[in-house]
Amino acid sequence: MIDVAIYITFACFGLALLLNLWQLATAKGVGDRVLALDTMVINSIALLILYGISAGTAVYFEASMLFAMVGFVSTVAYCKFMLRGDIIE
């Protein structure tokens, strides 16, 4: 039962990633693209943890933690660049 649920959730988050990619490619403003990228990071974290459950290893927690940190820092850096035209002043 868990296997089926994991496959369905894989499909959901994969579709969500495709939608984010579509938004990233076609969005009008820079802010929308940064938002799409941030959502892609969050969806990939969900995919990583799902893969960890289905493969039965705990290695992917570190990967998803690192992914979360890098995603947060990069989004903040993008926003800072949009606000000030510079990241570290």
């Binding site: 939608l19 802010g31 799902l50 039965g56």
Partner: protein
């Protein structure tokens, strides 16, 4: 016990998958940038939260150990999601909104991110 845990994990996974999909669909579908900001920051965080809780129950029941990694990731995501949303909203205000369109702050200082722009100077001179 194991069967109940299986039902719980499967339900949590399905719910979180649904929420993740809704969040990303809202990101594509909603009409203007500030409503688009709303969709993923709430729904997707809920989606990831569901996956993390399911993973915690899975490792507790089938792996027979309690793992704290998920709690750490959940805490991190819940702390950073509002910060990111606030930053994106601020950047949008800075790039797209004119100080004329914004309501008065009621203090000496204007809106954050709008200091030094021509429109802000004009607004101050208009008030003075």
């Amino acid at each position: 016990m194991t069967f109940l845990a299986e039902i719980l994990i499967a339900a949590l996974l399905l719910i979180s998958g649904f929420f993740g999909l809704v969040g990303s669909f809202g990101l594509v579908k909603l009409p203007d940038p500030m409503t688009r900001l709303h969709a993923p920051t709430k729904a997707t965080t809920l989606g990831v939260g569901g996956v993390l809780i399911a993973s915690m129950i899975y490792w507790f029941v089938f792996g027979e150990k309690f793992s704290f990694h998920e709690l750490m990731i959940t805490l991190f995501l819940f702390l950073t999601a509002p910060i990111v949303a606030h930053f994106l909203a601020k950047a949008w205000l800075h790039r797209n909104a004119s100080p004329r369109d914004l309501p008065a702050t009621g203090r000496d200082v204007g809106w954050a991110g709008q200091e030094g722009t021509e429109a802000e100077k004009a607004r101050r001179e208009g008030e003075a």
